[in-house]
């Protein structure tokens, strides 16, 4: 399946892009993260959460939506 991965804040500086499309053949968020850590090793040291369907999801969730966002700690207001 094709996933659109969105990066915010500090993470977009590491990946040098705000979003990218990747081909993904597995099922869990944790498996997606393993692939992203291979591509961007310094992501692993960063504090972030994964959102799917506009909700934070745990790493053992299944991917059900082609849009996945990587969100560092919020700093609005």
């Amino acid at each position: 399946m094709q996933l659109q991965i969105k990066y915010f804040g500090l993470l977009a500086e590491i990946t040098h892009c705000d979003e990218e499309t990747i081909e993904f053949s597995k099922s869990q968020v944790s498996e997606l993260l393993e692939e992203l850590y291979l591509k961007y090793p310094s992501l692993k040291q960063k504090d972030f959460k994964v959102a799917q369907n506009h909700e934070i999801v745990s790493t053992d969730s299944n991917i059900t939506n082609p849009e996945i966002a990587l969100l560092p700690p919020f700093s609005g207001g």
């Binding site: 919020f74 700093s75 207001g77």
Partner: protein
Amino acid sequence: MTKERKPKNVFKEGAISSEFIAESIAKHQSKTSIGAHNIFLGQVRADDIDGKTVSAIEYTAFEGMASAKFHEIREATFSKFNLTCMHIYHSLGSVKTGEICLFVFVSSPRRKEVFKALEYVVEEIKAKVPVYGKEIFEDSTHQWKVNS
């Protein structure tokens, strides 16, 4: 509350002006069941960090999720507190030090409600809405803001 509210557009490009705030207050003069308003304003501080001074914050957001979260916060707040109305505005893009980046406005017949409701809304925004502040220093370097 059974009334259905549509998601409102919370984001504004750039700083929130004092004139905009005044217009928002003035619009409530016709709502004569209101006895108390409570307004929170977030202002960009010229923080000094390792000898460098913040000159502006550039805000970005995951807008789709942020709008959904602002809507959830609105609905939860109306169900928890007896409010007549509620408005939230957050800046996107560059806001200079001394300028306003967040404007939260709650109104109720009674004052006890507005104090509780306003703090609830502001804390919920800080905790749940994916907005990012990039602190720009006077020498054009930057760091990513961390909320405390």
